[in-house]
């Protein structure tokens, strides 16, 4: 049994970020995958409630009303990691979709006139979506990537 739980954990670690990424990109409502006798199903409705704040501010700037979605359980698991300064961003090597992030770890630096300002993760999780690339100019508070926390209890 211990072996099964571990196997399931590994499976989730490798599959979940890919599924999440796929859902975002395709706009599909739900993806289900079966592997090694286990079934993983990811539903978009949980994810759709998340409105990235960067695009929200752009939309409101253009005069389009932005309706705030009610927070869902999925929202609580998704954490945007934001820039702590204005400048040029450099992501840490392990920041790619599917990459694991430990709470408090250094996930990026923002170059402010040659000074590297640190960005640290407030939560542990898996990178679900990148919103910038190394070398991009970023503003203060800009969303750099989305982190999906994987609650241990739910595995």
């Amino acid at each position: 049994m211990a072996h099964d739980t571990e196997r399931l954990g590994d499976l989730l670690d490798s599959l979940l970020p890919v599924l999440v990424e796929r859902l975002h990109e395709t706009g599909l409502g739900e993806i289900e995958i079966e592997r090694d006798g286990a079934t993983v199903r990811v539903r978009a409705e949980d994810l759709a409630a998340h409105v990235p704040s960067a695009s929200a501010s752009v939309a409101s700037r253009a005069g389009v009303p932005v309706t705030a979605a009610a927070p869902t359980a999925a929202d609580e698991r998704r954490h945007p990691v934001r820039s702590t300064a204005v400048g040029f961003v450099k992501l840490a090597p392990d920041i790619h979709v599917g990459g694991k992030v430990a709470k408090g770890s250094l996930v990026a630096t923002v170059d402010v006139l040659g000074v590297a300002v640190e960005v640290r993760a407030d939560h542990a999780g898996i990178v679900a979506k990148l919103r910038c690339a190394s070398g991009d100019p970023v503003e203060y508070g800009q969303e750099l990537f989305l982190l999906e926390s994987v609650g241990e209890g739910k595995l």
């Binding site: 501010s57 409101s60 700037r61 300064a85 204005v86 400048g87 040029f88 170059d111 402010v112 006139l113 000074v115 100019p137 970023v138 503003e139 203060y140 508070g141 800009q142």
Partner: protein, 458 residues
């Protein structure tokens, strides 16, 4: 050549600079703090960039954040507006080191004109009369007492690095000077990062008169007439007008010519304002120079027809003066009212909150510079300026009559404002007859001025 400007300021001046850039065909990016995300300049701009949190020290006052934002958005120049980093020499130097044009005097010029105490001596050398004062900065209380005894009381202690009416205290006696010295040093240190003080003879019943100048890189210096900013409350300007009622035509022209000549010869460059006190003898005495665009610049724009912000940008880009002194014609009379989020009924207590209704005045010869709109949240972090109403008339009387009409059209709901105070001021004899001095509000009092306001519904 300037192609793309980062506007490193907020409120109405960010909007004003944006307009000048658009008129000149220059791209503009508005830099803003998190508290100003919904500000009108940000909404109206083609591009905007968040540079930090609400705390100005980490946004509008952060040189690295502002310069980094300029680089991140591909700007080649920074307009600092007024306040914040606008007269900061090390900021101007850092900007230049990163290949950015600072729209204002160069770092070197700012440094030379930075210390108020030294500038007094410099301009005195170039022929401007100054008020008797200490010979530069007074290093300690004993030196201050010695200088004060020589000048005679009352004296005013001023922060050498000061501005905006802050860090100043009047001492009527040696005892008071002793009391104020350390407080004033601490205040100056807290406000400007430099506790150095100097002192001047404190003149009572003076008009505050300032001269708008512009100097190109070759040293050609022009003046654009004077502004009278005598209506003040605790050294904060409330109303500004041009021309001043305190100068006779004979004194005025000789004075203005002398100022332009002195400031050019002293090595000043770009846009600037020289402030003077005009005593009962009708003669102006130099007090300080402001190395930036000023809040009250529209008054001068209304009487000269010169776009001062556009001129400032062109001079910073290295252009030569596009006009001669003879081409700067001054016509009629203009008055500006600073409408602020302050409650005049309660000691001008600052206000913050949502603007529920907003109606701006209009009509001929009325200009209204404001960043407000209904639904806008006035943040509590910054200064309280909401709008500037500027009105022009052929004569002072006509400008006043039009100001009354325009002020009554102003409707700003949700916060208390100073509108009714100005309506009352426009019924106050001391203002109407042009004799208002900087101490008027101490003698007349806010309550009496408010009581003079017409009670009619807007």
């Amino acid at each position: 050549m300037i192609k793309r400007v980062l506007i490193a300021n907020r409120g109405e001046i960010a909007l004003r600079i944006l307009r000048a850039c658009r008129q000149l065909g220059i791209e503009a990016v508005v830099a803003y703090s998190e508290a100003d995300r919904e500000s009108r300049a940000v909404l109206v701009a083609d591009e905007a960039i968040c540079i930090g949190p609400a705390d100005a020290k980490r946004s509008y006052l952060s040189a690295p954040a502002v310069i980094s934002a300029a680089l991140a958005t591909g700007c080649d120049a920074i307009h600092p507006g007024y306040g914040f980093l606008s007269e900061n020499a090390s900021f101007a130097e850092a900007a230049a080191a990163h290949g950015l044009t600072f729209i204002g005097p160069s770092a070197e010029v700012l440094e030379r004109f930075e210390s108020k105490a030294e500038v007094r001596a410099l301009l005195a050398k170039h022929g401007l009369p100054t008020i008797p004062g200490s010979d530069g900065v007074v290093p300690d209380e004993a030196a201050a007492a010695k200088a004060a005894a020589k000048i005679g009381y009352p004296v005013i202690l001023k922060a050498a690095a000061g501005g905006g009416g802050r860090g100043m205290r009047v001492a009527q006696s040696a005892d008071e000077l002793a009391q104020h010295f350390s407080i004033c040093t601490q205040e100056a240190q807290a406000a400007f990062g430099d506790g150095s003080l100097y002192l001047e003879k404190y003149l009572i019943d003076t008009h505050h008169v300032e001269v708008q100048v512009a100097v190109d890189k070759s040293g050609t210096a022009l003046h654009f007439g004077e502004r009278d900013c005598s209506v003040q409350r605790r050294h904060q300007k409330l109303v500004e007008e041009s021309p001043s009622t305190a100068l006779t035509p004979k004194v005025r022209e000789e004075f203005l010519t002398r100022v332009a000549k002195a400031v050019g010869a002293a090595g000043y460059r770009n846009l600037g304002t020289l402030e003077f006190l005009v005593g009962p003898d009708g003669k102006p005495y130099f007090i300080e120079i402001n190395c930036r665009i000023q809040v009250e610049h529209p008054v001068t724009e209304m009487v000269t027809g010169v776009d001062l912000v556009a001129l400032q940008i062109r001079l910073a880009a290295g252009e030569l003066m596009p006009m001669t002194q003879a081409e700067v014609e001054r016509r009629g009379h203009a008055i500006e009212f600073r409408l602020t989020a302050e409650d005049p009924v309660h000691e001008f207590r600052p206000q913050a909150g949502e603007i529920t209704t907003f109606r701006s005045p209009s009509g001929p010869w009325v200009r209204f510079d404001s960043h407000l709109y209904a639904g806008y949240e006035v943040p509590p972090y910054y200064d309280s300026l909401l709008a500037k109403l500027i009105v022009w008339g052929n004569t002072r009387e006509e400008a006043i009559a039009r100001s009354r009409a325009a002020l009554r059209e102003v409707e700003i709901g949700g916060v208390e404002t100073t509108r009714d105070f100005y309506l009352g001021l426009l019924e106050t004899p001391a203002f109407l007859n042009g004799t208002a001095t900087t101490s008027m509000l101490d003698t007349i009092g806010t309550a009496d001025i408010l009581a003079a306001a017409p009670k009619a519904r807007v």
